[in-house]
Amino acid sequence: MTSKKIPSSCDDALAMLRGEMTSLDTPPEVERALMAAFARQHAVPSWRSRLAGVLTWRVLAPGGGVMAALLAALVVLQPGAGPDAGAPPAMAATDAFIALQPVERIAQERAPRMVETEVPRIALAALGVAVTPQNADQTVRAEMLVAADGQPLALRLPTL
């Protein structure tokens, strides 16, 4: 649509421009991109990364020898493998390993170590470990496979 109305002064011309400009808005894709950026920035870390963040340990033994068996065990409890990837795994088999990283990442690790650690029980709640007011301040002994750079790869709770 065009208009033939001609402004008679500079003020008229600017008023006309001001009126026409009010219909201009930022394209909607900008808002979508910004909200996606916001979501990425404020994403809640997964239970795996939250757990990995609280783990400290002492070295038990080089872990290379247990790698193959561990990877086989991981298939059972690897939480990212099933359709319900965000849910914590069941804790029925406490001698099995729970993956803290994707299986592919674990399989690629060339110099893993087995370490022993004490994990706050409350940090294990997301895995399905029972936490009560009575035991919330306790720790649980865990064995963990750690990458050469210190990244926790997998965890098991033999004494639970």
Partner: protein, 192 residues
């Protein structure tokens, strides 16, 4: 109830997505329109708005509410971003340095600096589009004055803060900018 900007900013920093969205929706329109008029390009304007809000989101922009309104702060950031692009593209060769308060007697003063897409039609209204193009033909430091004073009704003080120049410089640039714009609009107004 409409929350003030600083409450929304606080909520945004605490991770409230609705606060970020409300802040964006409140300011995107005026900011986009400023950037369109300032840069002469919808694409540049959209990129600028996005960059400004990303800066708010990731904390790289530090807004101090004691130093003025958020809206003016956002205009100032957008202006800097556009200026940076213009300089990078060699599109503002006649502008004074960004922080200059020099009198408008420099050799750059009468040399119009074309926005990089001034002739790309943006408005349906033919007369309004001609006015926009006349404005786009002004040197950037004059364009700023006309846009902020005439289109946004900002005070000399607010414009001085946004453009980081002295009050007197705002006054003299605005006067020259209006004169330059009137000259550009004359052919159009003679038809009236």
């Amino acid at each position: 109830m409409t929350l003030p900007d600083h409450d929304l900013l606080r909520a945004l920093r605490a991770g409230d997505a609705t606060a970020f969205q409300a802040l964006y929706r409140r300011h995107q329109g005026p900011l986009f329109r400023y950037a369109v008029l300032r840069s002469g390009s919808r694409e540049t304007a959209a990129d600028t708005v996005q960059e400004v809000f990303i800066g708010l989101l990731n904390g790289s922009l530090k807004f101090d509410p004691l130093r003025g309104e958020l809206r003016h702060f956002l205009f100032g950031v957008a202006r800097k971003l556009i200026l940076k692009q213009e300089l990078a593209r060699g599109l503002a060769p006649h502008s004074p340095p960004d922080d200059a308060n020099a009198d408008d007697d420099g050799e750059w003063q009468e040399a119009p600096c074309m926005a990089h897409e001034p002739l790309v039609r943006m408005l349906d209204n033919e007369a309004a589009e001609q006015v926009r193009q006349a404005l786009a033909g002004l040197p950037p430091h004059y364009r700023d004055m006309v846009i902020l004073y005439e289109m946004y009704d900002l005070s000399y003080g607010e414009i001085a803060a946004i453009c980081q120049i002295e009050l007197g410089t705002v006054r003299s640039r605005l006067s020259r900018a209006r004169a330059a714009l009137v000259a550009r609009l004359q052919p159009m107004m003679r038809v009236a």
